[in-house]
């Protein structure tokens, strides 16, 4: 079990790194577009489409499982103070169970969208260039699926302590 959790955390850190790469690329791409547009009058084509359909989707959905594991999901902790430790454990279990169901459902339906997009070869038009977007549609089901795995594992093994942040 310990080895499984260790492996899980390694893999999840990898997800965070991928999310980080998407964030940095977003920054550099937009920065380069501003420079090219203002100084060389040659904006980078399809910047808008690539930012919204690739970087944003990647940084929002790939790190979900890592976020679940690191206790980053925002919860309302009003009743926690009046709950007994046994009730908190029970509530944690129920939350993990419900979360697993929701993530799994999200993974399933977004997966079907991805399959459809793959078959039709979904794309957007950026001025006159065709930008295929179907690969990006695979990111949400991957993110949700991994998050479902993490919440499943959490039902068996305890989760780390949560820290508030905003």
């Amino acid at each position: 079990m310990h080895r499984l959790i260790l492996l899980q955390d390694r893999l999840l850190a990898g997800l965070a790194i991928l999310g980080g790469i998407a964030t940095i690329t977003l920054m550099l791409h937009v920065g380069a577009d501003i420079l090219m547009r203002n100084f060389f009058n040659a904006p980078i084509p399809a910047t808008y489409e690539i930012v919204t359909h690739y970087y944003m989707i990647a940084l929002a959905f790939i790190p979900l499982a890592w976020l679940e594991r690191s206790g980053g999901m925002v919860q309302v902790e009003v009743l926690e103070g009046v709950m007994s430790p046994a009730m908190v454990r029970f509530s944690d279990l129920m939350v993990s169970l419900l979360s697993t169901i929701i993530y799994a459902a999200l993974a399933w339906v977004t997966f079907e969208t991805a399959i459809r997009g793959f078959h039709t070869g979904t794309f957007v038009m950026a001025q006159s260039t065709r930008l295929p977007t179907w690969p990006a549609f695979w990111l949400p089901p991957i993110g949700f699926g991994l998050a479902a795995l993490v919440t499943t594992l959490r039902m068996i093994a305890p989760s780390p302590t949560k820290e508030p942040f905003a």
Binding site: L26, G31, Y48, F61, M73, E77, T110, A166
Partner: protein
């Protein structure tokens, strides 16, 4: 019939939240269940499968991770370190100089950071020990910084305002401009609190001016050049039309990193920490946003949104009564919820009402963010108070900090009344655009 489903959905949402369900997942579960019940499983699956992608693939939202990165890099690399000294140097002859300086340092920090927690943490670490050393009560000092931190989300950039702009379909730049006014208004109101406290309770806030010793005004002001440069790049470029408000985030993040590297304040660890916090905050925010978008669709389908807006119009509620309800609603939610959750569970209901009533949505964005920020310092869940407790645990307990916040909360009430009484004051700067 379906209006009843809508009501039931709102209740179910709050029950799930109270049972410690993550805000995002509760916001996804309720519309899915509700739409399945009303229209069957196929439309429910349709909304579930389309919303995640269509909500996140949003150009304006791309400013969120960028402004977060800019703020976290500025904070962790200490670009903003000199702000407090500069404010002290300028304000040293004013009674309560240290407290007022810390509030204005918060305002300066707010111009490169969009989160009130980071602002409170950054200033708390530097200012509270110094204030306690020179005779302020720990309770008052920590209360001042917890409250001062809320300015971080008022003065642009502001993550809350970007998310509001996306949901209200209104100009983020205009809400930002209104944020300048409300941020400065808040800083002035807090400074008045400090002055009054110095006058009435010199035992908790010593009124004597600061020692000028060791404070070289010129040097202190020159020391904040990295922050000033970043502000000039971001806001200068923004208002001269070089780039848009959305792109300003990327420029700010890039600028903060470059200035950090050039001034040798940047390290791999600092970059990693900033990146982790950026990702955590943006990913958790976006998934809440996905849920809120689904919840909005659900309430629209049940007819509850239009039912409530017509009920409000039919009840002939005056402007003041309507605003009173809104203020009380946010104050109560703010006691228990963090601001993004509180904003995103309420906007689906409130925005249709305001649209129907012809209330300016730029103005409401400013008021809404102000009310949410008050929730950051009200008990029992006041995140700014908790973060101050973390950075200044040597000095004050949570209860003492909440007590120190009280005078600033009273000032906030006056600010809110002012905003409601004089909408034109808030809308003056946005109207210049």
């Amino acid at each position: 019939m379906s209006i009843a489903t809508g009501f039931f959905g709102v209740i179910a949402l709050f029950v799930l939240l109270a049972l410690r369900m993550p805000v995002a997942l509760a916001l996804i579960a309720v519309p899915f269940g509700g739409i399945t019940y009303m229209l069957g499983i196929t439309p429910a699956i349709g909304i579930l499968s389309n919303t995640p992608f269509s909500f996140v693939a949003n150009w304006t939202l791309s400013a969120v991770p960028m402004f977060l990165l800019m703020g976290f890099v500025s904070y962790h690399s200490g670009l903003t370190g000199g702000l407090f000294d500069a404010a002290k140097a300028v304000l040293r002859r004013v009674p309560g100089a240290l407290a007022i300086s810390s509030i204005f340092a918060c305002s300066g920090f707010a111009a490169v950071c969009g989160s009130s927690l980071a602002t409170a943490a950054a200033m708390g670490r530097i200012a509270i020990p110094e204030m306690v050393k020179s005779g302020y009560s720990a309770s008052f000092a920590s209360g001042a910084i917890a409250a001062g931190g809320t300015i971080g989300a008022l003065i642009p950039p502001s993550i809350l305002m970007i998310i509001y702009g996306v949901f209200a379909e209104t100009s983020v730049t205009k809400v930002f401009m209104g944020g300048v006014t409300i941020g400065l208004l808040t800083a002035v109101a807090y400074s008045i609190v400090v002055l009054l406290t110095c006058w009435l309770r010199p035992d908790i806030a010593p009124p004597r001016p600061l020692d000028a010793e060791g404070l070289d005004t010129k040097k202190a002001i020159l020391n904040i050049w990295p922050v000033l440069l970043l502000m000039v790049i971001v806001f200068g470029g923004l208002f001269s039309g070089f780039f848009t408000a959305t792109e300003a985030g990327a420029v700010g993040a890039l600028g903060a990193i470059i200035i950090g590297v050039v001034t040798k304040r940047m390290s791999v660890t600092i970059f990693k920490t900033s990146m982790i916090e950026t990702l955590q905050t943006s990913a958790s925010l976006f998934i809440i946003g996905v849920g809120a978008a689904m919840f909005t669709r659900f309430l629209g389908l049940t007819g509850l949104s239009s039912f409530i807006s017509s009920a409000v119009s039919g009840a002939d509620l005056g402007y003041v009564q309507l605003m009173l309800i809104v203020v009380v609603l946010y104050l109560i939610l703010g006691m228990f919820m963090e601001p993004f959750g509180a904003m995103l569970v309420t906007l689906p209901v409130l925005l249709p009402i305001f649209r129907a009533q012809g209330i300016d949505l730029v103005w409401f964005g400013v008021l809404c963010v102000k009310l949410l920020e008050i929730g950051m310092i009200t008990p029992p869940v006041g995140l700014n108070v908790f973060v101050i407790r973390n950075v200044a645990s040597k000095y004050a307990t949570v209860a003492q900090i909440f007590k120190g916040v009280i005078p600033f909360l009273i000032a906030d009430i006056f600010v809110v009344i002012f905003v409601i009484a004089f909408p034109a004051f808030i809308l003056f700067l946005p109207s210049l655009l």
